[in-house]
């Protein structure tokens, strides 16, 4: 499969948008503008961008506590995301959800989930709806390496396989569940091999190679729809920042972090590839400036927008 130039530029743009969105959040956090914590995916942009851009708007995703990238990838408005993190009325959840719980149904994002593996079984239910409704769409379920040791991971994979559900399980293996290295947490051959155990065709890919992610997800989607079988991708990646804002990084070395930043960074690598293929620095600069401008204006607009009013929160608990 060859990726068109337009798609290549879009993949680059999306990775830049995710990176700059989260760097802007970090800056706002350090200025004391944000209440609460957040989980940044800086370094992992290729999985979110590559996977989401391979989907149609009507395909659904479920996301994780580290979900800003998934949300942007699926087409969310950065302004409404900043507004959410700032507790504004225009935020996706009107300040009720915050960083960990953004849902954007109009773009097919069933929501980020603060419970590790919490969205696995939900994705199975959404895929069941697609099957019952005879829709030609898939559900892409994002989860991290930490999720694969939860019972619900196994119950979800088992049922998806038994019922031939149109779901693509995408494990973003960033190699640490908070401080726990996945090699200390995951028994057996690999995370991908767990998919095989349930009769689900599973592959391991370089999660920092955005085109590899894009092509794998595109291929998996086609196969899910033509064979009526779920699929499983383990995308190996790395997060540069701590688990959340309280992390002192005691469980890994700065050499290790710097190796991934210097040698494996998904954005840097992709820029190198694009330049080799004839895309010019001017093309990329134009995109980067546009993204910077989007972030700048979105932050400003969000900061200027009104706080979510204090309504009857007890009533808001019920539909």
């Amino acid at each position: 499969m060859s990726v068109t130039k337009d798609t290549q530029l879009e993949l680059h743009r999306m990775m830049m948008l995710i990176r700059l969105f989260e760097e802007a959040l970090e800056e706002m956090f350090s200025r004391g503008l944000l209440h609460g914590t957040m989980h940044l995916s800086i370094g992992q942009e290729a999985t979110a961008a590559g996977a989401c851009l391979a989907l149609d708007k009507k395909d659904l995703i479920t996301s994780t506590h580290r979900g800003h990238g998934h949300c942007l990838g699926k087409g969310a408005d950065p302004y409404k995301m900043f507004a959410e993190l700032l507790g504004r009325e225009d935020g996706y959840c009107r300040g009720r959800g915050g960083s960990m719980h953004i849902a954007d149904l109009s773009n097919g994002n069933l929501g980020a989930n603060g419970i590790v593996a919490g969205s696995l079984t939900i994705s199975v239910g959404a895929a069941l709806s697609f099957q019952l409704q005879k829709k030609e769409n898939i559900v892409l379920c994002f989860f991290g390496d930490g999720a694969v040791n939860e019972g619900s991971f196994h119950e979800a994979l088992n049922l998806a396989s038994l019922w031939n559900l149109p779901v693509l399980f995408l494990c973003e293996n960033n190699q640490y569940g908070m401080s726990m290295a996945s090699e200390k947490a995951v028994a057996g051959e690999s995370i991908a091999s767990r998919g095989h155990s349930y009769g689900i065709e599973s592959i391991q890919i370089d999660g920092n190679d955005v085109e590899a992610v894009y092509e794998s997800v595109s291929t998996c989607k086609d196969e899910i729809l033509s064979n009526n079988r779920p699929k499983f991708i383990e995308a190996v990646t790395y997060r540069y920042r701590g688990h959340s804002k309280s992390d002192r990084n005691l469980y890994r070395t700065s050499e290790e972090i710097n190796f991934w930043k210097d040698e494996k960074d998904p954005i840097k690598r992709y820029i190198g590839k694009l330049l080799e293929q004839g895309i010019t620095e001017v093309d990329l600069k134009e995109i980067d400036e546009e993204v910077k401008n989007t972030i700048r204006t979105s932050v400003k607009k969000a900061l200027d927008s009104p706080l979510s009013p204090i309504t009857n929160l007890e009533e808001d608990s019920y539909a």
Partner: protein, 327 residues
């Protein structure tokens, strides 16, 4: 008007729902060919087929979780927890997901699911198949909790739970399944107005007795006994435990000046203790002539032997004694 058991009444309600709502389906353990452990889904597989009567592996977490995901995507799932004790394996999708998503996502999604489960003791099934865990769910904002006590309200409450836009925990006491009565087979309602409404089963002036689920039937036995024929008791069946219909209780207590609550569950942090707490904090407090009383199950796991089991669960005689002590 057919005479139906509670099990048959629920079966009729499920059948009507499946007929009227093409996007409704049922999932759970042994609900297909077996007809459910208590026979509630008997015959539905033959009528509606495997696509909509979905036998699942023994995997409560994904049973509840798939209901959440399906409900968010225009399906209308009803799932069965074979014994409500097993719901413990499904607490994340119910408590952290179903109950929270509407609020957490700023009202952008609804999670209209019904989780049915067979609750309660009296069958000698011992500690892991006999619990009354309903108050756990009352503690969680976002959930509704419903407990029928007879064929008619089992039928009606299930239909109302189904059309409610929120997740509903529907606890069916095992001992009510075989209770029979004439049932009006009402149509599916346009809204869930019945949820949150207690029902006054008998009017009286001497004492207000609040109960729910199968304990309502024990209270009925107690107040209709010859020994208490002189006492005029007002019996209120809560029907819905969350939200609680406190207004009906407060109005009644203001009239009778006495409050007795009867439940099978243990007392600590329970529905009964909440009812009493709410009454004591209400305007009805000043009308109370004596302290309210809670007759509840013992704070003990359910034993299997019959004589021990009946020691843990309040019996008709315990309720009669409490009434005599208070009036």
């Amino acid at each position: 008007m057919p005479e139906l058991s509670v099990g048959q009444a629920i079966n009729n309600a499920l059948s009507l729902i499946l007929k009227e709502y093409p996007n409704a389906f049922i999932a759970g353990e042994d609900i297909g060919i077996y007809g459910g452990a208590f026979g509630v889904t008997d015959g539905l597989l033959e009528t509606f087929g495997e696509e909509r009567i979905k036998d699942t592996p023994i995997a409560e977490d994904v049973i509840a979780g798939l209901a959440v995901g399906a409900a968010m995507t225009d399906s209308k799932p009803i799932v069965e927890m074979q014994f409500s004790d097993f719901i413990v394996n499904a607490m994340d999708p119910i408590v952290n997901q179903a109950a929270k998503l509407h609020f957490m996502y700023g009202g952008a999604v609804n999670v209209p699911i019904v989780v049915r489960g067979a609750s309660g003791a009296g069958t000698g099934a011992a500690a892991q198949h006999s619990q009354s865990l309903e108050s756990w769910f009352c503690h969680v904002p976002g959930l509704k909790v419903v407990t029928p006590s007879n064929p008619q309200n089992a039928y009606d409450l299930l239909l109302h739970s189904f059309v409610d836009p929120n997740p509903v925990i529907f606890m069916e006491h095992k001992l009510i399944y075989k209770i029979k009565d004439d049932v009006v087979l009402n149509n599916i309602p346009s809204n869930s107005e019945l949820l949150g409404q207690a029902k006054i089963l008998s009017e009286g002036n001497d004492i207000t007795i609040v109960s729910y689920s199968n304990m309502v039937n024990a209270v009925k036995g107690a107040i209709s006994s010859d020994e208490l024929s002189e006492i005029s008791a007002e019996l209120i069946d809560l029907q819905t435990l969350s939200p609680l219909d406190m207004q009906t209780i407060i109005t009644s207590v203001s009239k009778t000046k006495k409050l007795l609550v009867c439940q099978e569950a243990p007392a600590n942090s329970s529905v009964g203790s909440t009812v009493i707490s709410n009454v004591v904090q209400s305007d009805a407090f000043s009308s109370l002539s004596i302290a309210p009383k809670l007759v509840s199950g013992l704070h003990s796991p359910m034993p299997s032997a019959k004589h021990l089991e009946t020691t843990v669960i309040p019996q008709k005689e315990d309720i009669m004694q409490a009434i005599k002590d208070m009036v």
